[in-house]
Symmetry: C2
Subunit: 101 residues, 2 copies
Amino acid sequence: MGGVSIIAKRLKEARKRAGLSQRQLGIEAGINISGASSRINQYERAVHNPDPSILKGLATVLKAPLPYFYCEDAELADLILKFSVLEVAQRKRLIDFMDGL
Amino acid sequence: MGGVSIIAKRLKEARKRAGLSQRQLGIEAGINISGASSRINQYERAVHNPDPSILKGLATVLKAPLPYFYCEDAELADLILKFSVLEVAQRKRLIDFMDGL
DNA sequence: GCTCGATACTAAGGAAGTCTTAGTATCGCG
DNA sequence: CGCGATACTAAGACTTCCTTAGTATCGAGC
């Protein structure tokens, strides 16, 4: 079977990177404590899809930009993650470089 | 007032660029003809939020990557759009450049 | 290999959202 | 103005998510 949704995959990926449990992630993102574990689990298994406003909170905890979670292409996902930690001046240089390609 | 959701904004932006009506966009993306106009309108006004699977269809018609529609940061939005039209070799060069920053 | 706590996972109904339908408002132009 | 195309809206049918309660699985220590 092809794939769980891309959100599910990226979410799990980012949560592991952050070293959090499903429950911890949910709580830190402001989800009601009693449903936190179940909801994050449902998201990671693509039983349900978090809407952008929820995912934004998770993204903040996981220190990744929201668009990252919708990225099927691995290269683009990588680009987005790395871009998000660049300084303003470095971003400018990167964009200038790209415009010159 | 602050803002309609970022999806709404980017959707309208991209549809205008493509020169399509709300109805046309919906139909080309495979939405049932009788509800196409109303649904795209609801998305652009953030009355309702399209889920990723629907938005993917719209993204294809509008020739933009899915993550673009979730991008609040204008620079990152621009980066994503431009990256999506690069050749494989150019993408590689861009990523190498970024890794060296 | 047993126990215990933590973590992962699941079913099901109530709660909250979307989609469809039908229709009104507005715009552009002859 | 009159007409077609486009934009927009309300509301009920319909679909999906969120909460609750509970089971399964894993790992560490004994």
